[in-house]
């Protein structure tokens, strides 16, 4: 298959999405939900896990049917598979965690427009066996969840003085409301990217051979 990912142990397929090819801090994909729902930790985690569910589900099905889906209709088919899983995730969340579902609002159905999903389907799942597609989806999803959790922790802690709704910084702390507003999202993402770039830069300087 042209452009098929080189063979790799499963653990690498898993780890890639969490670290070296992290969707948010490295690939810079899915910025819309990243900005929109990271004002609270609960929302960030829920969005991350919902996206993981869709990544894994759509990855499995794209991989399962990769020999049956003709090239001409592949994008349509992938989007259909992704949209199905997004709709399922949306309905299941509404039935199990209605409060979080309400908080995520329109961003839940909008997962379908997250280019991370079509990206993984086209670049990875369509070219590998089911187990690799599953593990890759899991890794990318966990990487996405991790980034969203870090961002929302920073924003909720500074913006409200709470974590998962529990007061942490005490009554004396005057919350930076700015952090839970949209500009605070950009500010927090900037800080996170700065930290990641700095760490990667240090690492690259230490082992220039790689």
């Amino acid at each position: 298959m042209p452009g098929a990912p080189p063979p790799a142990p499963l653990i690498q397929d898993l780890w890639r999405g969490i670290s070296r090819e992290n969707p948010v801090v490295i690939q810079m994909l899915g910025m819309c939900p990243t900005m929109a729902v990271t004002n609270l930790v609960a929302n960030g985690i829920a969005m991350g896990l919902a996206t993981t569910f869709v990544l894994v589900g759509s990855g499995i099905f794209v991989s399962l049917f990769r020999r049956h889906i003709a090239n001409e209709v592949r994008i349509t088919s992938y989007i259909l598979i992704i949209a199905t899983f997004v709709t399922l995730a949306d309905m299941i969340l509404a039935a199990t965690f209605p409060v979080i579902s309400k908080a995520l609002g329109p961003f839940m159905p909008l997962i379908v427009a997250n280019c991370l999903l079509l990206g993984r389907a086209e670049a990875f799942a369509a070219k590998v066996k089911v187990t690799r597609a599953l593990v890759d989806g899991l890794g990318m999803g966990l990487g996405f969840t991790l980034s969203l959790t870090v961002l929302s922790t920073l924003r909720e802690l500074l913006g409200r003085g709470t974590l998962l709704g529990q007061p942490v910084l005490g009554a004396g702390y005057e919350p930076w409301v700015f952090m839970v507003l949209p500009p605070g999202g950009f500010f927090a993402l900037g800080l996170l990217l700065l930290a990641v770039t700095w760490v990667r830069g240090r690492r690259a300087r230490r082992s220039p051979a790689r």
Binding site: A70, E72, V73, L88, A94, G159
Partner: protein, 237 residues
């Protein structure tokens, strides 16, 4: 197409010879669409009871709150500009505008609750409003849904002092700033959330203007003894 190979550079890889017939493309999409539809409909039907239960609970706790714990309440449906106690078809009941008439243990009406939704500062703001239809006096309000600015506009929901003001106020309400309310139709707006506060007041005023005549008309046509009108209540001597 194959004739090109004799004249062109033979080293170039040939075009993919396999041309997928149109019916196969159609079949792929039809099967995928059908499977997807079946799955979505199945899960929708499985999750619907839980979703409706949650919506019912939300309404229930809000009615209890704004009517100050009524012993029970009747649900009225608005059909063709009139309130009726029994909706004709049970299946579309949820879609109809509803009013909840709270009653005390003796069965006497203690107020009505309705939901109202209008634009706030950012998005639609939805309220549960409890009031006495005869006098227009509010018994309480609750914000059901808001997406106002966190830390500013959302104080209409998080600042309990703001919501508590609406008890025993008489509509139409007026928002005031910087001083304590003096008259019975005055409500103090929140500093930094003036627009959201005014939206709450506007929604209440519009909702009462719409629902009071409906509830009074319902009461007049209903044959049952309990009445909104204190004058028509049986007097005990």
């Amino acid at each position: 197409m194959t004739g090109h190979h004799h004249h062109g550079a033979p080293a170039l890889p040939a075009e993919p010879a396999r041309q997928v017939p149109a019916w196969r493309l159609l079949l792929t999409l039809a099967v995928a669409g059908g499977a997807s539809g079946a799955l979505v409909v199945t899960v929708y039907r499985l999750t619907l009871p839980a979703v409706q239960r949650f919506a019912g609970q939300q309404v229930e706790s809000a009615v209890r709150e704004v009517l100050k714990s009524p012993a029970r309440w009747d649900t009225l449906y608005l059909i063709g500009g009139k309130l009726v106690a029994i909706a004709p078809d049970a299946s579309d009941k949820r879609e109809l505008p509803q009013a909840y008439v709270g009653r005390n243990a003796a069965g006497a009406p203690i107020g009505a609750a309705i939901t109202a939704k209008e634009p706030g500062f950012q998005e639609e703001l939805s309220l549960m409003i409890g009031f006495d239809p005869a006098s227009g006096t509010l018994t309480g309000i609750k914000v059901l849904e808001e997406k106002e600015t966190p830390g500013l506009g959302d104080k209409i929901e998080t600042d309990s002092g703001f919501g508590a003001q609406f008890r025993e106020r008489v509509a139409p309400l007026h928002g005031i700033k910087g001083r304590s309310p003096a008259a019975s139709d005055e409500v103090q707006t929140i500093t930094g959330a003036t627009i959201s506060s005014r939206a709450v007041i506007r929604i209440i005023n519009n909702a009462l203007a719409r629902w009071r005549p409906l509830l009074l008309a319902y009461d007049k046509q209903a044959a049952r003894p309990p009445s909104w009108c204190p004058a028509r209540r049986p007097r005990r001597r």
